[in-house]
Structures are given as structure tokens and as C-alpha cells.
């Protein structure tokens, strides 16, 4: 799974470099998030600009990351989502669970 990390003000900006998240690679995404949290990176902003498609297992992977961050008194925010992907969050009402921002700057501002 192609994910790059950039640190800004103690917050980890993750950039998902995959066009498609489905049951073939969602476990990798989940494990990556859990590992990151395990290492002490508790404030995560996941940027999804490249992701054109996400299925329910992708939503599930992000949800596990989010829950785990809260357990560790951290946080997992989402940013730069494509409209069609956002509609998956709306249908499953996960837009009420995640904080979703237009871009990384707004997510960072909200995290301060």
C-alpha cells in the first residue's frame, strides 16, 4: 500500500496513494493506521485525494483507525475526499462519526 507521511506541528498527515481501496487492500490500510497509532502517532489526518473508489471494507478500516485513536486519546480526521467517496460516508452515516475537512490545512487548524 502506497502511503506517505508528513509531520506538521506534531500531527501526522497521511497521504493515501491508492486510487482504489477495497477488500483486497483495506486490511493493509487498517494495519498501517494501527501501527502508526501504536508507535505513538496519535493525531492523524488521512488525506484521500487520490482515492477514487472505496468500498465498505475501506470505510471499516478507517473506522477501526478512528476508534483506536480515540481509545489512545488521539484523533483521526479525514481530508481531501472525492465527492463519490464522500457519498459512501453519507450513506453509512459515517460522516457523523468522522471529522471531514476540505483539505489538510483546515484539518490542521481544527486540531490546534
Amino acid at each position: 500500500m502506497n502511503i506517505t507521511i508528513e509531520k506538521r506541528d506534531g500531527i501526522s498527515l497521511l497521504n493515501i496513494g491508492e486510487e482504489r481501496i477495497d477488500a483486497h487492500n483495506s486490511q493493509q490500510l487498517k494495519e498501517f493506521l494501527l501501527q502508526q497509532l501504536e508507535q505513538g502517532d496519535k493525531q492523524l489526518v488521512v488525506q484521500l485525494e487520490k482515492v477514487r473508489f472505496m468500498d465498505s471494507s475501506g470505510l471499516g478500516a478507517l473506522l477501526v483507525g478512528h476508534k483506536n485513536a480515540l481509545l489512545k486519546s488521539g484523533d483521526l480526521k479525514l481530508a481531501n475526499m472525492q465527492p463519490q467517496v464522500l457519498s459512501m460516508f453519507e450513506l453509512t452515516r459515517l460522516n457523523r462519526v468522522f471529522e471531514i475537512y476540505a483539505n489538510a490545512d483546515e484539518a490542521l487548524a481544527a486540531a490546534q
Partner: protein, 141 residues
């Protein structure tokens, strides 16, 4: 005008790496639907998603986790005003009526696939026969 019938039948090994192929084929089929008045991009995404979810379930519940030896068949049929999808599996099957709605207040990692399929399409049913099980999905276009 004659009916524009397009039919695609795909047989794949029970492996998740083929989900992208199946989903993309659905998306490209929609792109060729000249007659469709609605939001084509949304329909393309929805067909991609529904095929991906249904096929992923068929792969996940294939007999004895036999990744690679069992096969899944996916059949897509489109005419001017009807989309019909059948996904055939050889697993133990399940009771579609007994699958609960996701708990939206306490969301969980899994259990959202069939909900999305039902939400985006018009009808879903699951039939068991001695030869195979079939998840059949319809939508009026």
C-alpha cells in the same frame, strides 16, 4: 428503437485481486449507456461498488477458504431500462432476511456491504440451489 442489450459474464478464481477488474468492468459498462438520463458518474460508481461488495462476499464465504481453486461467476445484464446482476457462489450460503441493518449509532468495521447494495439498488434476493447460491440484484434505470 431496438433494445440495447449488453451482457457480461465473468468467471474468476476466489481471490480479492480480481475485485478491481469486476468493478471496473461495471463502471465501463455504464459509460456506454448512451440512453441513461440520470447521473452517469454516480451510477458508474454505484455499479462498481455493488459488484465489488457482492463479489467480495462471495469470495469471503467461498468453501473452505479455498483461495484460487473455487471460482465465482458474476453475470451483468443491462438493457435500456433494467440492470440485473447475479453473483454465484459455492459457499454454505446465508439468510439474507436475517442480516441486520448496521447500527448507525455504534458503527462497526464490517456489516455495511449488503446495506449499501440494498440502498443503491432496487431489489436484492439470495437463492440457494444444490448447484450454487445466487445473489440477484436489480435496478430500474
Amino acid at each position: 428503437m431496438s433494445t440495447q442489450l449488453i451482457q457480461v459474464d465473468i468467471v474468476i478464481p476466489t481471490h480479492t485481486k480480481y475485485l478491481e477488474l469486476i468493478g471496473n468492468i461495471g463502471e465501463q459498462l455504464v459509460n456506454k449507456l448512451d440512453g441513461y438520463d440520470g447521473d452517469k458518474e454516480a451510477l458508474a460508481y454505484h455499479l462498481n461498488l455493488v459488484l465489488t461488495e457482492a463479489t467480495a462476499n462471495a469470495i469471503k464465504h467461498a468453501p473452505d477458504q479455498s483461495q484460487g481453486t473455487d471460482t465465482i461467476r458474476i453475470s451483468i445484464c443491462i438493457d435500456d431500462n433494467q440492470l440485473n446482476i447475479k453473483v454465484f457462489d459455492h459457499g454454505q450460503g446465508f439468510d439474507l432476511e436475517a442480516v441486520p441493518l448496521p447500527d448507525f449509532d455504534q458503527p462497526k468495521e464490517s456489516g455495511m456491504g449488503l446495506f449499501l447494495i440494498k440502498k443503491l439498488m432496487d431489489s436484492v434476493c439470495y437463492t440457494k440451489t444444490p448447484q450454487h447460491n445466487v445473489l440477484e440484484i436489480c435496478k430500474t434505470l
